[in-house]
């Protein structure tokens, strides 16, 4: 009886995580298209949402890695999964607040690590797998994406630039249509990649609670539910992050947007095939940065890039710490404790949401870079007046 309640809570929290994953990562696929005006903001998030849902059905190879690679599967308990998910949600919401495109996947992995250490001890952590399958790819993948995007941007300008201004404008407009295609491709890749991570967690919970055999694949309802959660999160749109990626990191024109998105999609689709749980966010950020370097006139704001990288480094430890703290309360499997934590967390999220409405970033002002910057920005620049 108690276990069923716990399982339901874990699934609800997992779906909530998937939702934050969606709105946090809308930027990955759509930021450059929104910034260049290739797509209207609302159309962009709707398109991305639908394609995320479609993408969720394409593949389940990452779901397996995320479930079995991080923790010794025999030591996983529902309270560990619960605390891990909440840690990840906390980090996602915090970074969204500051408009930082940080990795939802790493938040999830960090959360599970932190909760795992508290709940099952250091020995349960698959250290070398984490290093070789998570940390090292995390360091390498943005460079790969950045180089590909940089080269592609360079070629795009080299080939399509024309001295005739009219023709130049014309080909830039063509690239706008190209962006429609490339952004769709990234959304699809995001759906296949990120929706699977929550599927993996829910499946793991079902296995832990003996509703599924140990080596089960995600059942249809899990795939559908996760796809729907990430799609609706995407549709809500993480406008703060979109602004950062679309405007603050570098100035983006349509050929760059197309090159960056194509590079992201290529790296994502090619490496997902191998089942590596890569970070979509880090890859797309690397691509955007690369496309900024590929067009000499664009210029990269290295200060912003530095902020992003420090957020990336912090992601796993920070999510782990929050999850560990929650784990301290919940690891004995006390259902009352878990219900209380869930209610407190929901209340906190609601408070953040209310507060965000005081200084909103939305479809109407996302491209309006000088007005209504995220709170942190205003604080940093000393907000004249």
């Amino acid at each position: 009886m108690h276990n069923t309640l716990l399982l339901v809570i874990v699934i609800v929290v997992a779906v909530s995580f998937d939702f934050t994953n969606g709105f946090h990562d809308t930027a990955n696929a759509m930021a450059t298209s929104i910034a260049t005006g290739a797509l209207k903001p609302r159309v962009a998030v709707a398109l991305s949402g639908v394609l995320n849902l479609v993408g969720a059905f394409l593949s389940v190879s990452v779901a397996a890695t995320i479930a079995s690679g991080i923790l010794d599967a025999s030591k996983v308990t529902l309270p560990i999964i619960f605390a891990g998910l909440l840690g990840a949600i906390a980090w996602n919401v915090a970074t969204w607040w500051f408009g930082l495109p940080s990795s939802s996947s790493h938040a999830l992995i960090g959360g599970v690590i932190g909760a795992g250490i508290v709940g099952a001890g250091w020995s349960a952590i698959e250290g070398s797998t984490i290093l070789s399958k998570v940390v090292i790819p995390a360091v390498l993948s943005p460079f790969i994406a950045g180089i590909v995007a940089g080269v592609a941007t360079f070629i795009a300008y080299r080939v399509s630039r024309s001295k005739d201004e009219r023709r130049d404008e014309n080909s830039k407009r063509t690239f706008r249509y190209g962006q429609l295609l490339s952004a769709s491709l990234v959304s699809l890749a995001h759906g296949t990649n990120d929706a699977q991570k929550t599927m993996g967690i829910v499946t793991l919970a079902l296995i832990t609670d003996h509703h599924l055999p140990t080596d089960a694949k995600p059942p249809f309802w899990v795939i559908f539910m996760c796809g729907l959660a990430i799609a609706s999160g995407t549709y809500l749109g993480g406008w703060r992050v979109i602004r950062t990626l679309g405007h603050r990191l570098t100035d983006i024109e349509t050929p760059q947007g197309f090159a960056a998105e194509t590079a992201s999609a290529a790296v994502l689709l090619i490496s997902t095939h191998g089942g590596a749980p890569l970070s979509t966010t880090q890859i797309t950020t690397g691509s955007v940065l690369g496309s900024g370097l590929g067009r000499r006139a664009a210029g990269v704001r290295w200060g912003v890039a530095g902020q992003l990288v420090s957020a990336w480094i912090l992601t796993i430890p920070a999510a782990a710490c929050v999850a560990a703290l929650i784990g301290l309360v919940t690891h004995n499997g006390n259902t009352v404790g878990i219900v209380v934590v869930t209610i407190v967390a929901a209340a906190l999220l609601f408070a953040v949401w209310l507060k965000s409405r005081a200084d909103p970033v939305n479809a109407d002002n996302v491209n309006d870079v000088n007005a209504g910057k995220p709170a942190r920005d205003a604080a940093l620049s000393g907000a004249a007046a």
């Binding site: 394409l58 593949s59 389940v60 190879s61 070398s128 290093l131 070789s132 090292i136 390498l140 790969i144 994406a145 180089i147 590909v148 995007a149 080269v151 592609a152 941007t153 070629i155 795009a156 300008y157 080299r158 080939v159 399509s160 024309s162 005739d164 009219r166 023709r167 130049d168 404008e169 014309n170 080909s171 063509t174 690239f175 190209g178 295609l181 491709l185 699809l188 890749a189 296949t192 050929p255 197309f258 090159a259 194509t262 590079a263 999609a265 290529a266 790296v267 689709l269 090619i270 490496s271 997902t272 095939h273 191998g274």
Partner: protein
């Protein structure tokens, strides 16, 4: 113990991604340039509407088809079989 960095796989991903990125973006850029050649002219020249350059039209269409094929293959390649 497996080596920490699987350079073969990493290198493979890098080369494949670079090839995909360069081919798709390159082909699209050539297509965009050819298309601009035709359409920009029709703007100023009026009646001719690019009719004088069937080669540019054909080239542009070919380029975009190549892009579409590459993208299609990419999706096909992702789906679990």
């Amino acid at each position: 113990m497996a080596p920490l960095i699987d350079w073969t796989t990493t290198g493979q991903i890098f080369v494949e991604s670079l090839a995909a990125g360069v081919v798709i973006v390159g082909a699209f850029a050539v297509g965009a340039r050819l298309l601009a050649l035709v359409t920009a002219r029709s703007g100023t020249g009026g009646a001719q509407a690019g009719r004088g350059r069937p080669g540019a039209w054909a080239g542009a269409i070919l380029c975009f088809l190549l892009v579409a094929a590459a993208v299609g293959y990419g999706i096909y390649f992702t789906v679990d079989k």
